[in-house]
Symmetry: C2
Subunit: 266 residues, 2 copies
């Protein structure tokens, strides 16, 4: 870990400022009335795209002003280099609205993902849900919801596990969908439609497993410090680091992480 103790508090506080600023934008557009009858053709009012871009711009501006030497990777506006090979140095990885389908459907479980990557790995993560007024924070040694400390729960076997994935139809390939199904057939309960909220529920000890595919780096980096600090494990389906996204598995208990991995790769 290259992040220093004194940097943790500083960058976490700054990350929360970023989340506040993003929420002011996204909440302005959430549940803005749209008439689907008038949503086609030019001059569309597309609240999610507008909220996404405006929120990302606000975040980027704050970072550029406060830490001009930090790089930025965001969903909407791509990479912003700060000279040299910046991915080896401090940078922020952000997704202003994770769960855009929930957002446009009026559902509150969309989140703003903000990760601070110290050049080695995502060290700090903020997962903010403006519509439910819940903010999850992950950092070395602390996973919390507001001020409440979080801990994953024990779950020895898949037959006792609660599994989540955003959408059974959204797996990147048929092979991935079949792999997910092998896990889903073994668990006690499967929940759909949660996006990043599911990882927070694993960290909080209310769910046990999330299996997804087709994620981007900005979909996952903020979740890694949260799940890990709560005592869970989050990797690729192949067990390698989750940082770059792709096929992701998160578990509250290492035993079901192993059991699910062997089914995913079986």
């Amino acid at each position: 870990m290259t992040i220093r103790e004194d940097e943790i508090a500083e960058f976490l506080a700054f990350g929360e400022r970023l989340a506040d600023a993003a929420a002011a934008v996204t909440l302005k557009y959430f549940r803005a009335p749209i008439d689907v009858e008038h949503k086609t053709g030019k001059g569309d009012f597309d609240p999610v795209t507008r909220a996404d871009r405006e929120a990302e711009t606000v975040i980027r501006d704050l970072i550029a002003t406060t830490y001009p030497h930090h790089g930025i990777l965001g969903e909407e506006l791509g990479l912003e280099e700060r000279g040299g090979d910046w991915t080896d140095r401090a940078h922020w990885v952000i997704d202003p609205i994770d769960g855009t389908r929930a957002f446009i459907s009026g559902l509150p479980l969309w989140g703003t993902l903000i990760a601070f990557n110290d050049g080695e790995r995502p060290a700090l993560g903020i997962v903010d849900f403006p519509a439910t007024r819940e903010r999850f924070v992950g950092a070395p040694g602390q996973a919390r919801l507001g001020t409440r400390l979080l801990k994953t729960r024990a779950c020895p076997g898949l037959d006792q596990a609660t599994l989540s994935t955003t959408d059974p139809d959204l797996f990147a390939t048929d092979t991935d969908r079949a792999a997910f199904k092998r896990v889903a057939e073994r668990v006690r309960l499967t929940r759909y439609g949660c996006d990043c909220y599911a990882y927070c529920m694993v960290a909080a000890g209310f769910m046990d497993l999330v299996v997804e595919s087709g994620l981007a780096a900005y979909d996952v980096q903020a979740l890694i410090p949260l799940v890990e600090a709560a005592g869970g494990i989050i990797t690729g389906w192949d067990g390698r680091p989750a940082d770059q996204g792709g096929r992701i598995i998160a578990a509250g208990d290492r035993r079901i992480h192993e059991q699910a991995m062997s089914l995913l790769n079986g």
Copy 2:
């Protein structure tokens, strides 16, 4: 309609008291830590069953004290007759926790359903979400979220519609699942995992269609006044009244209600 104007305000206010009392119970058990490792065997701590029963008892007691001549139909404790053929007279239809799977997974989109049936039909409905602090109310001439008035949105064709169902695997029969799939293949977007929240989003104009099967009377009666007062339509798949549950379709716009019905029955 047999409910009188002056009764609407009185019973709505009382229904909100019921919702307040139920929320005090359910929130006590929501996100209570459970270790799945210790969830089997005797002496289980099953927070959802306990919350469900306690909340229903609190509601029943309040009704019995305030309106001793009203009948009660609830999920947990069944029918409570008040002499004679009470379903033809005023009675309450309640589900303390709709969305128990969400509840046990820490997810906030479970609701308390409270309907006042005037003996002819569900005339008033309260759909309360304690975890998100949102309360939807439906009555003749008013559909609202808190004090904000709700209206369904226009949606002329299924290809522009957002569809929701709680779980694609929870249809009562293969025939029902296939019927749902015929609709799902035509829409713009499908969302899962919403339980009663989806009907509220239709009433609020953020979703267009809900299709489910296997519902009970207490799953649906509170939703009927809400969807209808907002300008939507909610019926069985056969177009008959939705009061007794079963296979239910709710739509914000009559045009897609018709289009979806012909696919469901096709």
